[in-house]
């Protein structure tokens, strides 16, 4: 499977989560907080903490550790609070 991460093509395997793909590729953060602009990535790994939020196919606030990738997914960094459908 192919996905794009911040514009770059990456290969992915069925059953991998977005976090799995990103961490395997050496990324530890893919979101910034809306007040302090702090970088964040996985913290709890099981869908509880909502730190790993990412934009998938134009939809923000997707938990990367819970979302299983699909072929062609467009994944990008989430910058603070975003409105669905808006370009970053």
């Amino acid at each position: 499977m192919r996905v794009r991460v911040d514009g770059q093509e990456k290969s992915a395997l069925p059953g991998q989560t977005v976090a799995g793909v990103l961490l395997a590729g050496g990324r530890v953060s893919w979101r910034t907080t809306r007040n302090g602009d702090r970088p964040r990535g996985v913290f709890c790994g099981i869908g509880v903490c909502f730190d790993c939020l990412v934009v998938v196919n134009g939809v923000p606030d997707v938990r990367a550790c819970q979302r299983v990738v699909a072929d062609g997914d467009e994944i990008r960094t989430q910058l603070g609070a975003e409105l669905p459908g808006s370009a970053s």
């Binding site: 395997l13 069925p14 059953g15 991998q16 989560t17 976090a19 799995g20 961490l23 395997a24 530890v28 953060s29 907080t33 007040n35 302090g36 702090r38 970088p39 964040r40 990535g41 996985v42 913290f43 709890c44 790994g45 099981i46 869908g47 509880v48 903490c49 909502f50 730190d51 939020l53 998938v56 939809v59 606030d61 997707v62 938990r63 550790c65 819970q66 979302r67 299983v68 699909a70 669905p84």
Partner: protein
């Protein structure tokens, strides 16, 4: 209505579903994950060399299905479900009514705040475990584990298994074998003792140092963790002056026990006993037709969860006329497991000294970026000492995780906050507003009557 519905497909939920199905009643097992197993039995997908847990005979498993709300209806409860990719808009909406509900929603790691704990590269121990087991990735290559309780040991093993170098396991309490001195617990936990011995051997083989009364008190780095400060602790977890050491790492994993995942139990109105769901010997909660099993009733490991699941599943099935033999083994296992759990709890408490690790600007609430100073001001200047007023004054717990991460710690810092109030999340998992606006379908109209 005339079916057993089990929420959570971990050791407790799977056992409940299996036990209920064995009596011949209709059983539906719901879990937000793709596969069965929950935390303990988490498997990697086939593409990464894993093998799925086979389906349970007689049980309809609704995978990738989240229960986002629960409400009472005449004769039972109604679950509101969303099926589809996590957090995607437009997942399928269904409702499921049941007169016999088993809640087995498990628990998640408790992380204590310390300066720098919000840097990328700081994980919970469970995250490292879930990523190693489920995704075959190591959260770092030089990893330090810190916290309290025997759970740190399987995490060390998994990390080593996916190629990480574990620099050490730091246990804030006395050595992990401490609870073995409790004769009752030893009796109860013979299998556990063997498991523990295996881990100790494993650590030795990989030359992983195990340090008691030690922890990580700060993480350093600009956009990710590059170093941590470790320190020796006093009996109540204050830092021993002069014991601080800097250790270069690329990941640190912390776990200070577990917090139960209570929102559905609270929505159902189940009474709590302390932090956990109160159950009787048949795993019945205070609410008729609602049973609870596994770590929402107390932290005691997978075996205890499974045994409780057997009891809960059977009790739920009996409510619908299912017949089954008295599960003597499970009853004995629950009894022994609870003793063991109590001993574990005594040996690995979270001690108040952690509060001294905090700096004024240490975040307490990661989502809303509320620091310790702001929390203290809310209490001191505005008398924000109730759950609702504390949240609305300081914004602690009002963010995306709805206090799952910070609630417990805020409760310790402020004192006197109601645990049920902290776990009240009528929306148990986020739904998109447009999803909420659409009408769900009743999958089995004929038998929801």
């Amino acid at each position: 209505m005339n079916r057993v519905v089990v929420v959570g497909a971990g050791p407790a939920g799977m056992a409940a579903a299996r036990a209920a199905a064995a009596t011949g009643v209709e059983v539906v097992l719901v879990d937000s994950a793709q596969g069965l197993g929950g935390q303990y039995h988490r498997r990697a997908p086939e593409s990464l060399g894993g093998n799925e847990i086979p389906p349970i005979p007689g049980v309809r498993h609704l995978a990738a299905t989240t229960v986002w709300a629960l409400e009472p209806v005449p004769g039972g409860h109604r679950l509101h479900l969303r099926t589809g990719p996590a957090d995607a808009p437009g997942r399928q909406a269904t409702v499921l009514d049941t007169a016999a509900l088993v809640l087995a929603t498990g628990a998640y790691d408790r992380a204590l705040p310390f300066p720098g704990w919000d840097l990328p590269g700081v994980f919970t121990a469970g995250a490292a475990q879930a990523l190693a087991k489920g995704q075959k990735v190591a959260v770092g290559s030089r990893v330090l584990l810190a916290g309290t309780g025997p759970f740190l040991l399987p995490v060390a093993e998994s990390l080593i298994g996916v190629g990480a170098r574990v620099l050490g396991v730091l246990e804030a309490n006395i050595p992990v074998g401490g609870w073995l001195r409790d004769p009752l617990a030893l009796l109860a936990g013979r299998a556990k003792a063997a498991e523990l011995a295996r881990y100790v051997t494993m650590l030795a083989r990989h030359r992983v140092p195990f340090r008691p009364r030690t922890t990580v008190i700060a993480a350093h780095g600009t956009d990710r963790v590059t170093e941590v400060t470790t320190a020796r602790l006093t009996a109540d977890w204050r830092v021993r002056p002069g014991s601080e050491r800097r250790v270069p790492v690329d990941a640190v994993c912390v776990g200070f026990g577990f917090t139960p995942q209570l929102e559905l139990a609270v929505a159902a109105g189940c009474r709590l006993a302390g932090e956990f769901v109160e159950v009787n010997e048949a795993q019945a909660t205070s609410v008729a037709g609602v049973f609870a099993a596994g770590e929402i009733t107390g932290i005691g490991g997978a075996d205890l969860s499974e045994a409780e699941g057997v009891l809960a599943g059977l009790a739920a099935a009996r409510l619908l006329g299912g017949q089954g033999e008295t599960p003597r083994r499970a009853i004995a296992a629950v009894r022994a497991g609870r003793r063991f759990a109590a001993a574990l709890d005594r040996a690995h408490p979270v001690r108040a000294g952690w509060q001294s690790w905090l700096a004024e600007d240490t975040l307490i609430c990661r989502c809303e970026e509320v620091d310790y100073g702001a929390l203290c001001r809310a209490v001191r200047d505005r008398d924000a000492i109730g759950v609702r007023s504390l949240k609305l004054v300081s914004r602690v717990g009002l963010g995306a995780c709805q206090g799952r991460t910070c609630g417990r710690n805020a409760a310790d810092l402020v004192g006197g906050l109601d645990p049920a109030g902290l776990a009240r999340r009528p929306i148990a998992a986020p739904v998109r507003l447009g999803e909420l606006a659409t009408t769900p379908v009743h999958p089995n109209e004929r038998d929801t009557s």
